[in-house]
């Protein structure tokens, strides 16, 4: 009988001790993380395209934090879904994008300036104020600021805005990832560039 009592007492003492220790540690070493919304927002691509159904990335981040599904960001692609799943400890969901949506291709808006009638509709649509111009004057896109959200395409009454794929430049070009185990490098026979000097 006494042994049982002693055992129980010892266990209780241990539990109390460890509990105190843990409590102390959790207070002392508390990690002051960013609020979850900021962390989510940091993972979203900041295209501000609204394809998730929210007026911008931050509102969507707030919605995700509030429990909305985290797979509604086509510009972010699968990677963003995976990253968010990791952050939130949620299941990795398939990306919720339209079938033909060319996910992951970087685009930039381009205004065919001689067709532009200067209606300012696109300026109002741009979520990041990347379009310059005034009423009755030709507008132009600041390509560096354009997030490629394509929100300006729809409002244009004369359809003079194109979404152009961003072509790699010397500064942005990077080597392809090798094809992987068991595969021959695919640039053994390259597409011959048409040489403007010869052409």
């Amino acid at each position: 009988m006494t042994t049982i009592v002693i055992a129980i007492l010892a266990l209780l003492a241990l539990a109390a001790g460890f509990g105190a220790l843990l409590g102390f540690a959790s207070e002392k070493f508390k990690v002051e993380g960013d609020p979850i919304v900021d962390q989510i927002d940091a993972l979203l691509p900041q295209t501000q395209c609204g394809q998730c159904g929210h007026p911008g990335c931050r509102p969507y981040a707030e919605a995700i934090a509030a429990g909305e599904e985290h797979n509604r960001c086509p510009p972010g692609g699968e990677q963003t879904v995976v990253d968010l799943s990791e952050l939130l400890g949620r299941e990795v969901l398939p990306l919720d994008a339209e079938e033909d949506a060319d996910v992951g291709i970087k685009k930039v808006a381009y205004i065919r300036e001689d067709e532009c009638i200067g209606c300012t509709k696109c300026i109002q649509a741009c979520p990041v104020d990347a379009i310059l111009g005034a009423a009755k004057q030709m507008h132009t896109v600041i390509a560096d600021e354009c997030t490629g959200c394509d929100l300006c395409v729809e409002p244009c009454p004369v359809d003079c805005i194109d979404m152009l794929e961003v072509k790699p430049t010397l500064g942005t070009w990077i080597w392809d990832k090798p094809p992987g185990i068991g595969k021959k490098p695919d640039n053994l026979i390259p597409v011959v560039n048409v040489d403007p000097v010869e052409a």
């Binding site: 080597w175 185990i181 490098p185 000097v197």
Partner: protein
């Protein structure tokens, strides 16, 4: 420090290094393949049909073109200028005409095109004027550095870093060792080897200039031991000069800047840092020659030595070639035909890059062109799984774990890859060279490094986008708020108008206007009647003037109504409204409080549990009531003041404007009346609330009393002002009417008639039961009556005052 070794007399095999050298970790021993291209002396490459000069031949910002298509340029003329601190100018390699400034394929593994200046040589090689600095030892170092920069000299070893940048010392910076790179560790390349064999004096002369500029404590020239002839030539040329020629064992990549520095000085360049941080500056011998020529002869960098090698060349060797010469021209010159070439490499086999097309030009950094058959450099076999054998780690000169970098690069775990110091990889290719699984390790690293850079750029862009989005949101919100505020103000204004409309002021004005117009109509009628009745012309004329006067009066009244409408109700109205509102709130709050107190008491008596809660609730309510009361007080204090000042602000009389005088006066009077009424009303209300307060036993009775007094005073004042105005008006009427007794008589008579006519109309309306009409007619009749009375009284007073008696 002299070259301590009488080099010429010591066979290379027994060459004794004048100071101990160190070793660097890792490294490999690939087959040298150097003999192919050392058989022939350096030849001059032929002048090609056109020269293509990319604007970025160097590391850093691309140059800015100074010429355009059609310009004639001379050999050595500057055709593009440096753009920023880390950039270099470009010079015309020969005389000729600029054909184009446009995109051409350039020296880049991507095969992308970039802006180039294309020159068609005229074959005359006419030099531009050159400015040699033969007495360079007397020149200021900064001037020499500027000259080196202006000569467009980039590091000729491979990276193409602007040489002048490395020569700009910080103030007080001491360079311990000047390391001259003559190692040329990559297989196949012999450009430096041949340069040393043939032009050792020029190299030494260049090194002396570097020494002059940097004042190093020691100058160390590193040469690999596989170049005995070059060592001999260099030792001969360096005899008596203060520099050490150090022979290093052949091991790739001993020619890498960091590796050579470690090899010769034992120092490590810190990660992400530059050699100068450890007191070392490193230059290539090709650069030394270019510096020598730029200073001694004033020649800019327009040509370089390039090795043509690989089994596709029938005549491999080294050529001195003008920058901008297309590779194709060299292939033709040294007998390499397209069919034989499987791979065309610019640079060495370990770190060079395969070019897509032979139209790519030779640039400042092109030390070698390898045109290899598929047999010599076969296509790489497919990648096999990494067996973590560690061979790669054994040879890595940067002491990385290439197998781990591979793993993380492959799985795109960039964070881990960076943790394993991916960015410290010098892309030497030693790991891929030994990998038994034929993994293109370097490509993995390049891809991952690119991804890292891209990620950084994207992050920056995303941050910017976020900022801009937030700024826009803030802007939109502000705009919306402003709009809302404007809308509210408008709404408020119209509400006030509405509330003012039934109010005393506007109503009175309207009435006045109505009266005036009906008087006018009556006058017109009388006039017409007189005319039809054939009254005497005098009377008719008189009636007409009268009618005109009345019309003006009516117009004035209308204008007054308009003004009142536009100006909105006076502030007093708002104040009053607010006070009324507040009062109501106070009343409600205090009754709620009382009820709460009652409840609480009842609860206490009954001993209910929630008594204290109820009491605290009552307290809250009391606080609320008090607060509201205080507000009410404030509102009251401010409302009468405005009410009083409002009328006081417009008492000016405009006697000159005779036509609108009446209306003006009327308006003023009405306004004053309103003010009085308002003050009066407020006073009454205040007294009422005082009474109530007394009844309630509120604690602010004194304040309320004071308010009441104040309001009384205000009301009295308004009354006084009104009286004054009335007096004034009377006087005016007298003054005006006194002049024309006849008019007054007529007016009075007509007014009587009008009243009668209206009364008749009223009777009719009453009979038809048109209630709305009746009201209007009533009002019109009253106005006419007043008019009539006024007319009669003014007639009377005029008669009285002027002592005129009616006949």
């Amino acid at each position: 420090m002299n070259a301590r070794i009488p080099a010429t007399t010591v066979p290379v095999g027994q060459y004794q290094n004048p100071r101990p050298i160190h070793d660097f970790r890792g490294g490999i021993h690939p087959p040298q393949n150097k003999d192919q291209s050392t058989g022939r002396p350096i030849r001059r490459a032929p002048l090609p049909e056109q020269l293509v000069l990319p604007l970025n031949m160097h590391l850093g910002a691309p140059a800015k073109a100074l010429v355009s298509a059609g310009d004639r340029v001379l050999k050595g003329q500057k055709i593009a200028e440096g753009n920023g601190a880390v950039s270099l100018p470009i010079h015309a390699p020969t005389s000729g005409t600029v054909m184009a400034v446009g995109e051409r394929p350039i020296q880049h593994p991507s095969g992308l095109h970039a802006p180039c200046i294309v020159i068609a040589p005229d074959g005359e090689e006419t030099w531009t004027e050159l400015h040699p600095l033969t007495h360079w030892r007397e020149c200021a170092p900064s001037m020499l550095v500027a000259r080196i920069r202006e000569a467009g000299i980039a590091g000729m070893g491979g990276a193409g870093f602007p040489a002048a940048v490395k020569l700009n010392l910080r103030d007080g910076q001491q360079i311990e060792e000047l390391v001259i790179n003559a190692v040329e560790c990559e297989p196949y390349i012999t450009a430096d080897d041949m340069l040393m064999r043939e032009r050792a004096e020029q190299i030494i002369a260049g090194i002396e200039k570097l020494q002059f500029l940097l004042q190093p404590k020691a100058t160390l020239v590193g040469i690999e031991d596989n170049k005995p002839e070059a060592i001999k030539a260099m030792c001969a040329a360096a005899e008596g000069k203060s520099m050490d020629i150090l022979v290093v064992p052949t091991k790739y990549p001993s020619g890498g800047e960091k590796q050579l520095i470690e090899l010769l000085t034992g120092k490590e360049v810190p990660s992400g840092g530059i050699p100068a941080q450890v007191g070392v500056v490193c230059h290539n011998i090709g650069t030394a020659v270019a510096i020598h020529r730029a200073i001694e002869f004033g020649e800019p960098l327009i040509s370089r030595i390039t090795t043509l090698t690989g089994d596709a060349f029938t005549e491999p060797g080294n050529v001195e070639v003008l920058l901008g010469t297309p590779v194709q021209s060299l292939l033709d010159y040294a007998g390499a035909t397209a069919e034989r070439i499987g791979r065309l490499i610019m640079g060495g086999p370990m770190m060079g890059f395969a070019i897509h097309t032979p139209s790519v030009p030779i640039v400042k950094t092109t030390n070698c062109i390898i045109a290899a058959s598929a047999a010599e450099l076969p296509a790489p076999p497919p990648e096999q799984p990494c067996i973590r054998c560690g061979s790669c780690a054994e040879v890595c000169p940067a002491n990385l774990l290439p197998q781990q970098l591979y793993w993380y690069s492959k799985t795109e775990d960039l964070e881990r890859a960076q943790q394993y110091n991916l960015m410290d990889c010098i892309e030497c290719g030693a790991c891929a060279y030994v990998c038994p699984s034929n993994i293109p390790l370097v490509q993995y690293y390049r891809h991952a490094k690119g991804e890292v850079r891209q990620q950084v750029a994207e992050q920056q862009k995303a941050d910017k986008a976020r900022e801009r989005f937030e700024a826009r949101k803030a802007r939109l919100e502000k705009e919306a708020a402003e709009k809302e505020a404007r809308r509210k103000a408008r709404l408020e204004a119209s509400k006030q108008k509405k509330s003012a409309a039934p109010g005393v002021d506007l109503a009175a004005l309207k009435k006045a206007s109505l009266d005036a117009s009906s008087a006018y109509k009556a006058a017109v009628k009388a006039l017409k009647a007189a005319e039809t009745e054939g009254a005497d012309p005098d009377t008719v004329a008189q009636l007409r003037t009268d009618a005109d006067n009345l019309k003006a009066k009516a117009d004035g009244a209308k204008a007054a109504v308009r003004d009142a409408k536009a100006g909105g109700a006076s502030v007093a109205d708002t104040g009053a409204d607010k006070v009324a509102e507040l009062k109501k709130a106070v009343g409600e709050a205090s009754s709620a409080y009382k009820a709460a107190v009652k409840d609480a008491k009842a609860a206490e008596e009954a001993g209910a549990e929630n008594a204290s809660e109820l009491r605290s609730h009552a307290d809250t309510l009391k606080a609320k009531a008090d607060e509201l009361k205080a507000q009410l007080r404030d509102a009251k204090a401010s409302a009468p003041a405005t009410a009083a000042t409002a009328p006081a602000s417009k008492p000016e009389k405009s006697a000159e404007q005779a036509s609108s005088e009446a209306a003006d006066r009327a308006k003023k009077m009405k306004a004053l009346k309103t003010a009085f009424n308002m003050a009066n009303k407020q006073w009454k209300e205040a007294s009422a609330s005082l009474e109530r307060a007394e009844r309630d036993g509120a604690d602010d009775i004194d304040t309320l009393k004071k308010t009441v007094d104040k309001l009384r005073f205000k009301a009295d004042k308004a009354k006084e002002a009104l009286n004054v105005l009335v007096e004034e008006a009377k006087k005016n009427i007298e003054a005006a009417s006194g002049s024309d007794l006849k008019t007054l008589k007529l007016e009075a008579g007509r007014a009587e008639a009008a009243v009668r006519a209206k009364e008749k109309e009223l009777e009719d309306a009453k009979r038809s039961g048109d209630q709305e009409n009746i009201d209007v007619i009533y009002r019109e009749r009253d106005a006419l009556r007043r008019e009539a009375t006024m007319a009669a009284s003014s007639l009377q007073s005029a008669i009285d005052e002027q002592g005129l008696k009616e006949d």
